[in-house]
């Protein structure tokens, strides 16, 4: 009896249909992101090509916005795959920006110290989020919702007590000559852009004291951060053993523990990484604006989660892709700015968000059924 069973199992199981290449391509988490990106670009190339969206300024404009989304989406993506949410990302952005401004402007600390201390502080808050979630076993939804309010409250309270206002300016002046600040608030490849301007490949100023200089004089370093974080996140997730632990922790925490995966450590580290990403976002923003405001980063946590879900991650964890999340962020940035270029009422952007979120979740559920063979 045992022998026949063996032989049967060794031959191909006739009850399992061969998977068609199309269906196999469908089982990629990035599918939604790729389809969406193609659709969005096709749409705007057709309907808004002449609006200036695809000249040098236009491209930098939506690339910068997309890069902002990407930075927080990478953190949210890895955390979601590890099986948790962070709803405090938006408040963390406001809090981090405010801390940098208070340290650098009010206390006149050197900006690099202000930045480093803020990073340490925010990552510690991320760790606290993680520790509470892991220790109490409460849903991260609730724990980080609490921190959404706690951090936002401090962000409004502290500047009022210290400076009697809710916006603290003068960060750019304080950052003059600082060695660390340019890492978050400068432009790179300026030479390349000057050269391209001289060759007439990109638009240049025709009048004024900057005549002859390119209108776009470099790539904001924010974009480099975004690309760097996406590559880091993708490699970490797919090419390292820690990446396997991230999948395992989110897929089934008990099964992972039984196999010796340090699930708690993985989750706490992912909360810390999310906080790190939010702080990068905040630092870039503060350096760009030269000020910190108490309302910065509002709703960013949801935008990050939406980008991640569009990118194919499952809300329940254990499945997803950083590249997908990056594409989700790109779709976001292109649509938000594209609607502006196309002269469409900007409130419609929210309608679009809601619709695409719903479509993405339905598609993801379908893909999940294919993978797990549920019916």
């Amino acid at each position: 009896m045992a022998d026949t069973a063996q032989n049967d199992a060794a031959s191909t199981d006739e009850r399992v249909k061969e998977i068609s290449p199309l269906r196999k391509a469908l089982i990629r988490p990035e599918l939604g992101g790729i389809v969406g990106t193609v659709a969005v670009f096709t749409f705007f190339l057709l309907f808004a090509f002449d609006s200036g969206m695809f000249n040098s300024q236009g491209v930098i404009n939506w690339s910068t916005v997309s890069a902002q989304f990407m930075i927080i989406a990478v953190g949210a993506c890895l955390l979601m795959i590890a099986g948790e949410f962070d709803l405090s990302v938006g408040s963390m952005i406001g809090f981090a920006g405010m801390m940098i401004a208070i340290f650098a402007v009010t206390y006149s600390w050197p900006v690099w110290i202000a930045i480093l201390v803020t990073f340490a502080l925010c990552i510690a808050v991320g760790a606290l989020n993680g520790i509470i979630v892991v220790r109490t076993g409460l849903p991260s939804f609730i724990v980080t919702l609490a921190f959404l309010f706690i951090l936002r409250g401090f962000t409004i309270f502290l500047p009022q007590v210290i400076e009697r206002k809710t916006i603290i300016g003068g960060v750019r002046e304080a950052a003059e000559g600082d060695w660390l600040a340019p890492l978050f608030g400068s432009k790179v490849f300026q030479g390349v852009f000057t050269w391209m301007g001289e060759n007439g490949w990109i638009a240049t100023f025709t009048r004024g004291n900057r005549a002859g200089e390119p209108i776009v004089d470099g790539i904001p370093v924010l974009i480099i951060w975004a690309i760097g974080l996406v590559i880091f996140g993708h490699v970490l997730l797919t090419k390292t053993r820690f990446g396997n632990w991230i999948y395992a922790s989110g897929g089934d925490a008990d099964a992972a523990r039984n196999s010796g995966v340090p699930v708690n450590r993985v989750k706490i580290l992912m909360f810390m990484f999310t906080a790190f990403c939010a702080t990068v976002f905040a630092t870039c923003q503060v350096m760009e604006f030269g000020s910190a405001g108490a309302d910065r980063g509002l709703l960013k946590e949801f935008e990050a989660i939406i980008a991640v879900v569009i990118g194919g991650a499952l809300l329940t964890g254990g499945y997803g892709s950083v590249i997908g999340a990056a594409l989700g962020a790109l779709i976001f940035g292109v649509v938000q700015q594209g609607l502006f270029f196309a002269g469409v009422e900007s409130s419609l952007f929210r309608v679009f968000l809601g619709v695409i979120l719903l479509a993405a979740v339905i598609l993801n559920t379908y893909i999940r059924r294919i993978i797990t063979g549920e019916r």
Binding site: Q6, A9, T12, D254, A255, S259, G260, T372
Partner: protein, 259 residues
Amino acid sequence: MSDPIIQMKDIQKHFGRVIALAGVSVDVHAGECHCLLGDNGAGKSTFIKTMSGVHKPTSGEIIFEGKPMDFADPRDAMEAGIATVHQHLAMIPLMSVSRNFFMGNEPVKKIMGLPFFDHEKANTTTMEAMKKMGINLRGPDQAVGTLSGGERQTVAISRAVHFGAKVLILDEPTSALGVRQTSNVLATIDKVRKQGVAVVFITHNVRHALAVGDRFTVLNRGKTLGTAGKGEITPEELQDMMAGGQEMAQLEGSLGGTV
């Protein structure tokens, strides 16, 4: 026969006022399949949890490879070479077979001094191990969720063996499976045994036990009713011992001897 690889001597386990195990002795040799039979609540689970380091025995002695053992926790036991494959498996359906196979034990290769997951090695090893067990995968990247229950059991078993299990405890691996899947799992048990692994096979199905078992121990209400070798006992006797004789005989009568 050589010395047993693991000996459980007069194990008692009390939970408060409940006596779960009242002196159970079992020994298992390398390369044998020792079936542990018993009805629900007979103490099978408590017994194997004691063996795998989850519970500490209230009294009694565990001798593993000739030395008395005192496992602090299941990881301790795992490292010593005692692996348990649970009814509810340590498998993640959304992950590929090879990612599951190496979960927690990922092979690593260094690229520019940085450790990276060696997918190539993981994939080839997984495919080989699966083939050895008679499972043809579509590919190492096939998700575990697409495998049948029996195939999942087999993946879990071959994973345990691959990572050096000397004693493999199978907790009712066939209880939720269909006929054909059950025979696949039994075939897997047979292969593992031939590789020299000591298998402890927990079941309450006498026929499954007789198909692969070398020796049989019946637990009833926290006590052993003795150990019998293959051919020394009939299925009817085993069934009777499991159920506690008397009542079962009456029941069987009313059911026409079909149980």
